[in-house]
Symmetry: C2
Subunit: 405 residues, 2 copies
């Protein structure tokens, strides 16, 4: 008998029929002798609908109230899945974040999990019940509801699996697993049988939207193997774990891309200590995530500093940066909201030269201009023109022969 | 400075504009120096929509899960009212039943409040906040969500007002107060300035849908004055309290009616001890509320027993009663699902003869046949043909000259 934690995303519970399918899937695993805990997201577009409702009331909803409002979406779906399981004759119970013992800090809209008290879940499991947990939420010590921000339900599932010492943690998605590249762009993209935490983290952080980076990080921290698989069939999907099978012929594991990048260049920045902090601290304070940062070599004590943000954050970033640019006496700002990002990822790359040059050559051969380059030990990222992103993904997938196992 | 508990029904918070109006009303009272607690129902048809959603999953939703599902409706509206107040510059916070300290028994779908721990509400009020409480819900000792059944938010408001020792408890409705009869039926109906608990309880229990009987009972228990008034204007409404002004010229206070009555007659019931209990216990067990019960004098040890239930409960009542009728050897069942009920209510009636005869005469003069009669000390009720209910209300309003103050 295994203890399995599953997570079903919003698409998988979007309507009554899909909820019934989810219940049947859980029921099969329970009948096979497993103890089952399932974390669910809100149905389909519920979260967006609730945000729209709040925006009808005010353009700046209180983060504390918005968290309470949004948390109802996952509560609704958790009760419906529990009802569907009971309809199948199983004993099932839904639990809110509070009831599931998920305690967070009080940073509303992007709370971090502090600890999990799994006592209630264990008790329900011991009584033979299937436990359905409302994802994406927790409570503070004061019992105020918080939400975990983007990818919150993924994080709930991994955190619960760790706290419950689950045997398996399965992420059921509307895709079949992790691919060498987005199969909508590269039809020959190959589903990976398994992948290491580090590689998955790089892919997830640089545009692969299948699994949230926080969930991967947490799984790595607890050395918890997790899978990504389809909620619509029984295919095995992809295993994310500590050791990845060495594949000597193919050291690039996958390609991540992000077509929603905005690029900001601050020109003529005085080259003195503390300038970068002055620029980036106010962005961090407003929770704007700065991605790639490149600073050119200084010329006559003036330098250009370029960074990228998510396109949706561009306006807010400019509002914050413009006064700072005046304050530090920089020459000006240049923005480009039509950038894209493409990355190759693979632990096999780290001790092997030549990957960067092969990447640049492949992009050059495809007529794609590289605007910025950043690297980590197991990743090389290029900022390019947004319109050329799909072409770049295909060119790199070909160049590194990722269709071959 | 007064502590005021208000309750806003679903119609009053049905959309963003109405929620803004509610917030403005609360804000005015807060600015006038009062401490404000507002209990809110779910927006418009939300509760029905959630029930429909559950019915898409299963025809017999678990009461425990349904309670959790339905409780989200009031949580949504409470957050939106809090957001609207903050938009107006007030400090406001929404609290769930759990956070408001409302502890109930574990009878899902019709839980009774056991105790209220108002510590958190007091703390929020002390910090100058307006507190918005999600109505209709509480939690068990296990922290499982319960709902209070029909009229639940009315009950929440009165119970909180009692626990907080509030100075006022205002029920804001889509009507202007308690009338001598339904003004949609009797245009000359007069709004009552005040009414006693007992009279209000009789009116509420016999068809006046303005306020739930449980809320009235609770107000009486704590001797808490409550008002019913319009949420759309500032008119004073009706005060419900312990002493009612004596009005010597008008001892009938009001007329209640209920057009949704079904009548069941069990014919040829053997007249022996315990038969009534045998009939009614299984109905009570299924929570079917039996209203009027009339048993005729016995003839040759056989009697007819007639009782009424709400029309929506007729089918379920028959399913339960039919086997019992066979078991006790009664002659058969006659049902009538087109009955109505009309009551006159007034404490002034109790020591004054002649009200019953005036009522029967007025109905007779209007050509209305009386099928059953029951009375309490301060109420006389007749079961009549459903189609004649409006006509009966008007005839009695005229006969007792209720349009005159």
């Amino acid at each position: 008998m295994a203890l399995i934690v599953q997570k079903y995303g919003g698409t998988s519970v979007a309507d009554a029929e899909r909820i019934r399918n989810v219940a049947e899937r859980i029921a099969r695993l329970q009948h096979a002798g497993n103890q089952m805990v399932a974390v669910v997201s809100a149905m389909g577009d519920t979260t967006d609908d609730l945000i729209a409702l709040a925006n009808q009331i005010t353009d700046r909803p209180s983060a504390r109230e918005l968290d309470v409002l949004l948390s109802t979406g996952e509560i609704v779906s958790s009760t419906l899945v529990a009802m569907a399981l009971r309809h199948l004759g199983l004993d099932a119970i839904s639990l809110s974040g509070l009831q599931a013992g998920i305690q967070t800090d009080s940073t509303h809209s992007r709370a971090r999990i502090r600890r999990i008290n799994p006592e209630r879940i264990h008790r329900e499991l011991d009584e033979g019940r299937v436990v359905i947990v409302a994802g994406f939420q927790g409570v503070t010590e004061e019992l105020d509801v918080t939400t975990l921000g983007r990818g919150g339900s993924d994080t709930t599932a991994v955190a619960l699996a760790a706290a419950l010492r689950a045997d398996r943690c399965e992420n059921l998605k509307d895709v079949e697993g992790i691919y060498t590249a987005d199969p909508r762009i590269v039809p020959a993209a190959r589903k990976l049988r398994d992948i290491g935490y580090e590689e998955m983290l790089e892919l997830a952080s640089h545009g692969a939207q299948v699994l949230h980076p926080r969930a991967v990080e947490l799984a790595q921290l607890y050395n918890l193997p997790i899978t990504v698989q389809s909620s619509f069939n029984e295919e095995p999907g992809t295993l994310i774990h500590a050791e990845t099978t060495m594949e000597p012929t193919n050291k690039v594991r996958g390609i991540a891309h992000d077509a929603d990048v905005a690029k900001i260049t601050v020109r003529g920045v005085p080259d003195r200590p503390g300038i970068a902090a002055t620029l980036f601290e106010p962005l961090a304070a407003r929770a704007i995530s700065v991605d790639t940062i490149v600073q050119n070599a200084s010329l006559e004590n003036l330098t250009d500093l370029t960074f990228t943000v998510s396109r949706k954050d561009l306006r807010a970033a400019l509002e914050i940066i413009q006064p700072v640019v005046l304050e530090i006496g920089a020459a000006g700002l240049v923005t480009d909201d039509e950038a894209g990002k493409i990355s190759i990822v693979g632990t096999g790359m780290q001790n092997t030269p030549g990957y960067a040059s092969r990447m640049f050559r492949a992009l050059f051969d495809a007529g794609i201009n590289i605007q910025l380059i950043t690297t980590s030990e197991i990743r090389i990222t290029c900022i390019i023109d947004q319109a050329q992103v799909p072409q770049a993904v295909r060119a790199l997938h070909d160049a590194f022969e990722l269709e071959k196992a």
